[in-house]
Chain length 362, copies 4
């Protein structure tokens, strides 16, 4: 329901952009897992704005506080509640939006669903800020997975019309680390520079721009996942569409497969140098029938342009429905895809860990 | 878990391609709903092969039998169990596949997950045949929705590289009926003829071809769905990725939004002639923050080419992992996208009905 | 929801007393488990009436048919659908009840919930007959558990005011077999004879009588279950209250503990001859904090007298609510506790297997 | 899973007795509901110790802080996170227990489940202290229910062998208020005085004593709940067994029905002075087939004596399993049943509200 996902690892997200705080409640984390807090902070910093001209103005770092479930840096097996304080909120900027829904934001739909009671200051519970606790939870999952040889990495595969290079078929974890260490998470820094130009150009035009993110999970053994509605694809998609602004999800070559013939789209089976069964290509993204093949799980998400733009836009008053205009003030990223990269990794890590737990691998 | 989805309306699919039978168990259907059995049969016939050269050889019609939950054609409120007999199975065709996994099928992953115990004759529980009970359940949901002014329609939006025209922004239900009545479910029969050429060409080349399906749900009131992980997008995606061969799902303009600027991607609010609040465009597919805007819900799925092709393919023996080749015999559709159109409608209808029930609209 | 329970092992019950059939859908059964069909039939026969003067007239044996999920007597890992035909239904007997709800049956509440649409002939979905598919599912679980050294047994601990002897603290599985083989499932046949007198006396008085059932699960390792709301007690209670006529559930010494002092109620820890940690007594029923101690899980359920009695009773007409009388005809057990013994075992076995699967023990 | 319950209203409890804090996350609360904070505090005070010689030494009041989901004292529709600080913890008292499990506590089972990682200081996540956030959540539910004419009340029905009087069949809400206002929540103050003697006697004997609690929910309309495994009984039982020390749950006359005949146990239907259909007696506790009859829902829970007693007890060392003795120091209630009364009310209110939400009554 709503702000929760997962089966054996259950993650619930709470809080609003301008409320007292935000956080995550995680049930089902295995006991005895050490949490490297510094690494977790570095992971979370990747989703924060303020690093450069591409993002909103500098914010204080989001510092997750463990309310429960962790003792001396080790998970206890009890539910882990993580809380992050809301500081640096400037509600004044949003006051005039109260009754004028911002186009392509959730203001209008939230108003209709909760009859005006929802606290939508700064986007409320729908704010991109709510991806911070998701990253906190995901950052812990990443550490647990890595101890089992499972790695997650993502990069900006496109901004506007500029495409990054593609991941190799079997990337090493060091590649994921290299990308994660970059200020702009791409494979090709040359393409990255062009992407940044797209973002800056949009910003200058008082506009925003969208992008796509490609993600891989390596090291997942074959035979994980469930048929039909609980396959790896179903579970990942359910979580990924929970990230604000995601409007498309595809696995392997995804929509491109729809334009192909079977002889080109099928992944032949064979063996690698160690005699393991592999597929010679991985157009299906490491998943067949919802179940892992042992090849890297591979998917891509499409992220729409930031709906908050500085240009004047058409809207209506609520609840009357009189046509009017709106000018959105305040701090906004001209492109959110950049900051969504670690969020996608977090979603992937939490889903992968849940799948492993459902399979009884702990 | 696995072969089940839904919250207040819960659908479970069971059976295997060559087992004793297949079926669906539906919990949570409202009581007192009449089921027009003839209409249900007509809906189910749309997903069956054998109509023309584009599909596999003629089969007997799938006839759903109501084991429980329906009395004199009216739902009683108790769980509805629907069963469909398996006739016309020719297991011999598949015997040689037992230990040679077919590329891009679930044979290998099922073997790894269930250690060789899964009954994979004809694809087992992963077979496209299992979409028959999904359609039976969905066909009932469609009838219940229509009584509330909610309509679901889909068309083949592309086959290979050939694109159909697009749905209008606010289609009438009669358009959905017209497409459903066609042997080849497209808007433009001219484009449809070209698509059929693509399919026949693939067939002649002992190959297959993929396609995409566009679907709309009209009449959904604004304010339905839940934030984050239980929005309309999350729920629909979870079910849609349960349809065999679906590798991508996008909402509204989907991945195309990723290449756009915010000023072009945002949907301005305004009012229609009756004074209702609407969006002037619907690039977000009738969903903002996971919640309905009142505009048609609009999405597209990408379907990979049928993995069963008559060409020789590389594979391995199980469990040894020796490289070998496979030639798949038996009856296969050169394109399954055509038959998946009503399946997508069924998935959409069941999800929409569940969302309405969760909202307490019955 | 409703007619389903379980987390990793999910059991759904469907059907009505006088409908086309009844059955169970089981998701999550481990693959590769042999089902001894003859043993399953013997288990199911224990819940059937017609053996003696204590039960309703002879019926045909309920024969479960496997629609899916089982190949050559071995589970495949796919959902298992079990169906049992409804034969020997005599709806005429119930015709006059249609609009006169039987006291202490679900006729009235079903009418209110489903506005008269529920098919309540013979009790509909609430009929004791629906425990047949529960036993079919449970009988399979029992066989899987026994292969892991886990055994489930129950006996009639009381009928009316007559009490059976108590289980020993650590019963051998052979004791469970001995009781299961008896026509009247008690430890002390002498007490059993007195209980049967209670039942016959009730029958002669055109009345019915209630009873209690004590059940144990042996061989469960320590450390299984979850805190708070998903402990062994919570899960068992949720399923046990799904058995018709169960009105009380207690664990260990249960309500008797409420009248005791801590020094008498606490179970001291110690070691057995093999050096394993045990409790010297087992007043807590093998569960502390919802988690198994390694001692036998022990509980008792209270079953009310069969509400169907031949005496004239006060009721009302529906929907008018005019006061009237009712005389219930047809075949009815003067005591259902006897037949509920294997049903309680089935519920216990399914819950125990689910707990093991959640713990990743397969 | 674990520390969560509910379907449309989902409550998760987190925290440990001696950790940073405890709390509850509530998803699905209707929007627009005012929370009377002072009333909530008064409700929560009823479960706190320190009022008299019967309880542990005085503690600071538990003050729930709303982290999310409430704006200006009104629910917003977003997840409500409530946090309560842990103050006044004296871990030193428990140090010697670390490796010696206390009899009839969860120390041993938690050790086995989480391999020694669980933070069991003060009972950890199993501590009775964790009923504080349950009461915070339940206190909100009570306020929402009362606005719909639904009331919940409970009393101590017994301590040791002393019984309180019974609730009338149709109690007015003012009776619930009167009991709630008492320092010792009983109907008969004379019986209450005798109960208090039982508690004091146990305390003087360095011992503890158990009790039972009777609870009613009035005003629930007929037709609510689901058949089989999601009836009112199933749901309530699942939550009630989540309250520490509860070992038995019964509905209506419960286990007493097992000793009765049907003619005495059945509740005849009739009409009241307003012409509404009622049952003339309510031995089934307002529930038939899991669904409400419209009569008060009535149940009783059995609570074992506080396992913490000052007497020397037998235990073992962990993980070696050497037999040894333990003396439990620190502050302990000689009877916890008294403080569990509002906890039972909270569990009942949250379950009732969930059932109403599932039925679409909001």
């Amino acid at each position: 329901m709503a702000s929760q996902f997962g089966e054996q690892l259950r993650v619930s997200i709470f809080g609003e952009s301008h409320g007292n705080g935000i956080g995550a409640l995680i049930e089902g984390l295995p006991a005895g897992e050490a949490i490297d807090f510094d690494r977790l902070m570095r992971f979370m910093e990747r989703r924060q704005g303020g690093r450069n001209a591409l993002s909103t103005a500098r914010k204080e770092p989001d510092r997750p506080e463990f309310v429960s479930g962790v003792l001396d840096g080790i998970t206890t097996g009890f539910p882990v509640c993580i809380q992050i304080a809301n500081t640096n909120t400037r509600s004044g900027d949003y006051n005039n939006l109260a009754l004028k829904p911002r186009p392509s934001h959730a203001d209008f739909t939230a108003y209709m669903k909760w009859h005006g009671h929802a606290d939508m200051r700064g986007g409320g519970h729908f704010s991109g800020r709510l991806t911070a606790p998701l990253c906190a939870a995901g950052g812990i999952a990443l550490q647990i997975l890595e101890r089992r040889g499972i790695y997650v990495g993502a990069h900006l595969s496109s901004i506007g019309s500029v495409q990054d290079d593609a991941f190799p078929m079997q990337p090493e974890s060091v590649l994921f680390e290299q990308i994660a260490a970059k200020e702009f998470p791409v494979l090709s820094d040359k393409k990255g520079a062009m992407m940044q130009q797209e973002i800056l150009a949009a910003r200058e035009a008082l506009d925003s721009v969208g992008g796509t993110i490609a993600c891989m999970i390596t090291g997942m053994p074959a035979g994980l996942g469930d048929p039909m509605f609980d396959g790896i694809e179903n579970r990942l998609a359910r979580v990924l569409f929970g990230i604000p602004a995601v409007k498309g999800v595809e696995f392997g070559d995804g929509f491109a497969l729809s334009g192909m013939r079977g002889s080109a789209a099928n992944d032949p089976f064979g063996t690698d140098l160690q005699g393991n069964i592999v597929t010679k290509t991985n157009r299906n993204g490491g998943i067949l029938g919802g179940i892992t093949t042992g090849m890297p799980v591979r998917f891509r998400v499409g992220i729409k342009p930031t709906p908050s733009i500085a240009q004047k836009q058409q809207t209506v008053t609520l609840p009357e429905g009189n046509e009017t205009e709106i000018e959105i003030k305040g701090r906004h990223d001209p492109c959110i895809a950049q900051r969504a990269v670690p969020v996608v990794e977090a979603a992937a890590a939490l889903t992968a860990l849940d799948v492993l737990l459902c399979d009884g691998r702990f």
